[in-house]
């Protein structure tokens, strides 16, 4: 259980509380961080000694996470979102005004539908003016205007859905009951495989195939890891699910565990959602009390234990190798692949790492049918995708779209199009990782991976940020590249240095003529895309490539200004 840390706890009480638990390091660091308001040298020495870790390793690893403070009072210093949307809504001005209070910038904190989030200790306030900051509940996903059938959001607007009673009243746990009491694990896998559900974190790997690989892999105990480290700028879909439908995630993980033979599960939750750490733990406790998680689930021989671990501010920990290293208390560099997590995951044992959205789809599929889920998509695509839409549109929010829906339908019919008197200039794909789509492509593309990839971009986790005709797209691209540079882990050379050099070129450094600027940017981008060690470095150049492709006149102006 994740208890609020008693301010009176001694070091040894904290250590005893966590030492015997699985994946203890992050939990223990948070316990000291919460109690003391920072991570002191004494705390790190005590942790290293008791977890038998080299002190230099622990120190280095702690400095990797930008939300762990090493200064007294650091925990409560305000962190203000300067993500791509919040930068346009006063985030940077608020940061400057609070600088004297030790405020620091934080990358996108997943409130793009209601900027600007300010994280202070264990709570998040939102508002575009400092004197108007308030604590607000997450915005419920707006229903789509066409009454188009949903999967993940089908029941999310039902009152009380985030309580166990309310969840069960609206079809919750029908899927698990059906799986555990009437189906073999391999039948469950076959069911999910036939639905064509695939990884909704962006990689799109078929879920049934992943589960099959874990089920087939040798080694125990196996694990289910829910990737709730939603860190891609412009993505806030997982927050809505975790807030309003936590039991769907728990049920989905439990079904995954039954199917694969896993006996333990971890939810790796991003630091920027502190309220969810508490509310989700209450949901787990309720599921345990009702014998839906724990030993002998639903009176069978099936056991599954579930743990929450909080991240501490590192986008790369959404990459599954980094996430697993982080969970294990190691330096969160990505892992070399192969081997893959399905055989060598958490503690080198077979592990299914699935996104929140993927797992939340599973209970609905299990209580209905694979054919039903497949049929939700259009033009031969199976199922649905949650899109987090934000920026310069009338109604930002999380929308569940059928795969194959024209992008313009989402932008203009569902979200009301641009603000009055404005026109849309560009929309990002995959949060920031897909770069922009603009001009004619906005009118022709459909929301599915093949269509968006044919334009040199990708759907990914489906964050979409709209920018209207007021925006300077070079500045937008600069902000994006700064983010990638800030979040680059520092392991592989092309990403570590390339993101820095591209940021400099978008900021104005190295005055050059346009042909030289373009050749430098192209060489760096091509190298990063081809040889980076993980997806971060491979995707980061897409934003500058799309800038050059769609907005050559803005690039020319920028370079001319710099070389003057």
């Amino acid at each position: 259980m994740l208890l609020p840390t008693d301010p009176g706890s001694t070091d040894s009480e904290l250590i005893e509380r966590w030492r015997g638990e699985p994946a203890p390091l992050l939990a223990l660091l948070h316990a000291f961080h919460d109690r003391d308001g920072y991570l002191s040298e004494t705390a790190l020495r005590a942790i290293a000694q008791n977890l038998r870790m080299p002190l230099a390793d622990l120190f280095g690893t702690v400095t990797f996470y930008h939300h762990f403070s090493r200064e007294p009072q650091g925990l409560n210093a305000p962190r203000i979102c300067t993500g791509p949307v919040c930068s346009l809504r006063g985030g940077r001005e608020m940061l400057a005004a609070l600088a004297s209070q030790g405020a620091t910038a934080m990358p996108c904190a997943g409130r793009c539908d209601e900027p600007v989030p300010v994280l202070q200790g264990q709570r998040v306030l939102v508002g575009t003016k400092l004197d108007q900051l308030v604590h607000k509940a997450t915005i419920l996903p707006p229903p789509n205007p066409g009454g188009i059938e949903e999967c993940v959001f089908a029941e999310i607007r039902q009152p009380g859905r985030n309580t166990l009673a309310g969840y069960r009243r609206t079809g919750g746990y029908e899927g698990l009951t059906r799986a555990v009491t009437t189906m073999t694990p391999s039948a469950v896998i076959e069911f999910v495989r036939q639905s064509k559900l695939a990884g909704r974190g962006g990689a799109g790997f078929p879920t049934g195939q992943k589960w099959q690989a874990v089920a087939d892999a040798v080694g125990q105990p196996k694990a289910i890891v829910c990737n709730a480290d939603e860190g891609e700028p412009g993505c806030f879909k997982d927050r809505a699910i975790l807030d309003y439908d936590p039991f769907a995630v728990i049920e989905g993980m439990t079904i995954a565990a039954y199917a694969t033979g896993a006996t333990r599960g971890f939810i790796y939750l991003r630091y920027e959602y502190p309220e969810i750490a508490a509310s989700f733990q209450r949901a787990i406790d309720a599921a345990v009390a009702a014998n839906l998680v724990g030993n002998n689930i639903l009176g069978t021989a099936f056991h599954f234990a579930l743990y929450i671990r909080r991240g501490a501010g590192a986008y790369i920990c959404g990459e599954e190798g980094s996430l697993l290293n982080s969970l294990e208390g190691k330096h969160p560099f990505p892992r070399n692949r192969p081997p893959f997590p399905v055989t060598h995951g958490f503690e080198n044992l077979p592990t299914a790492v699935n996104n929140v959205e993927t797992l939340a789809s599973v209970p609905q599929i299990m209580r209905r049918s694979p054919e039903w889920y497949q049929g939700l998509g259009r033009n031969g695509h199976a199922g649905t995708k949650l899109v987090s839409l934000s920026g310069d549109v009338q109604q930002p929010g999380n929308y569940e779209v059928p795969f194959g829906l024209p992008l313009r339908t989402l932008l203009y019919e569902w979200a009301g199009g641009p603000l009055p008197g404005r026109s849309l200039q560009a929309v990002t794909m995959a949060g920031l990782s897909g770069g922009f789509l603009a001009k004619d492509d906005l009118a022709t593309v459909t929301i599915d991976e093949p269509s968006i990839r044919s334009k040199g971009s990708m759907l990914g986790a489906a964050g979409m940020i709209a920018f209207d005709d007021r925006r300077n797209m070079v500045e937008v691209a600069h902000n994006a590249m700064e983010f990638f540079a800030h979040e680059s882990c520092g392991k592989c050379f092309p990403c570590r240095i390339g993101t820095q050099r591209l940021t400099e070129r978008l900021a104005g450094a190295s005055p050059q003529t346009l042909p030289i600027w373009l050749a430098e940017v192209d060489d760096i981008s091509q190298t990063m895309k081809a040889v980076s060690a993980c997806g971060l470095g491979m995707a980061a150049p897409l934003v500058i490539e799309s800038l050059v492709r769609y907005f050559p006149e803005q690039v020319a102006q920028h370079v001319a200004k710099v070389s003057d």
């Binding site: 040298e41 790190l44 080299p54 002190l55 230099a56 390793d57 622990l58 120190f59 280095g60 690893t61 400095t63 990797f64 590192a314 790369i316 330096h331 070399n336 192969p338 540079a485 800030h486 979040e487 680059s488 882990c489 520092g490 392991k491 592989c492 050379f493 092309p494 570590r496 240095i497 390339g498 993101t499 820095q500 050099r501 400099e504 450094a509 190295s510 430098e520 060489d523 760096i524 091509q526 190298t527 895309k529 081809a530 040889v531 980076s532 060690a533 491979m538």
Partner: protein
């Protein structure tokens, strides 16, 4: 008993035997192929950071790092191509942009010329991507043995890995991330206050001379 068939790969069009567990880089080295690297040290676990050792693998859209890729039968590998040579040169131009361009004394360490030799071989323009520098030298560390001139560091982590994997000292690690990565001891102090035993392994594996043997340098003076 079934006859054991020797597993082979195609390496630059030639059939080459390999043993289970061997990486493409190891096989290529045995075959006297030149593949550049900066983060590789045969004594250490393959790390896959510098990406200079990428090779073409049939069936793979992107080149793959040969140091981390274990051979499987009938792989078709090409150790060089036009695009790979271009990537390698661009990588070297990126790496050299991190640090001031200076000639490093070979007395600093055994491996200290690795970077400069590659720069020469690829005719890499060290000023092409000039920008902010990374790494901060620890000239405040007055120990008589190890020079810590991190202005020249390229964050290959060979020092960190040799300290852990060969010496088992775990005296140094990596702090911060991305471009602000810095080799550090516990609490970013000096070596004397750390678990360092001054064995000198880190110095000898450093490919840029960022770590130097102060005794050798003193002797030369």
């Amino acid at each position: 008993m079934e006859k054991t068939v020797q597993a082979t790969i195609q390496l630059d069009g030639e059939t080459v035997n390999f043993a289970t567990g061997e990486t493409i880089y190891e096989i290529a080295s045995r075959a006297d192929k030149f593949i550049p690297t900066l983060c590789y040290d045969p004594r250490l676990q393959p790390f896959g950071a510098c990406r200079l050792c990428v090779v073409e693998l049939k069936g793979s859209k992107n080149p793959v790092a040969s140091c981390t890729l274990k051979a499987t039968p009938n792989m078709e590998v090409t150790t060089t191509s036009e695009r790979i040579e271009k990537f390698r040169k661009t990588l070297l131009e990126l790496v050299t942009s991190e640090n001031p361009t200076i000639a490093v004394s070979p007395l600093r360490s055994y491996a200290s010329q690795e970077l400069s030799l590659l720069v020469e071989r690829y005719a890499a323009d060290t000023q092409r991507f000039a920008g902010e520098h990374s790494g901060h030298s620890r000239l405040d560390d007055k120990n008589p043995f190890l020079l810590r001139d991190y202005d020249l560091c390229i964050s290959c982590y060979r020092c960190v890995r040799v300290c852990a994997e060969q010496e088992g000292d775990y005296a140094i690690s990596v702090m911060n991330r991305g471009f602000h990565t810095q080799i550090t001891t516990e609490f970013n102090g000096i070596l004397k206050d750390s678990a360092c035993t001054f064995c000198g392994q880190c110095v000898q594996t450093c490919p840029t001379g960022a770590l130097g043997d102060k005794k050798a340098l003193r002797f030369a003076e």
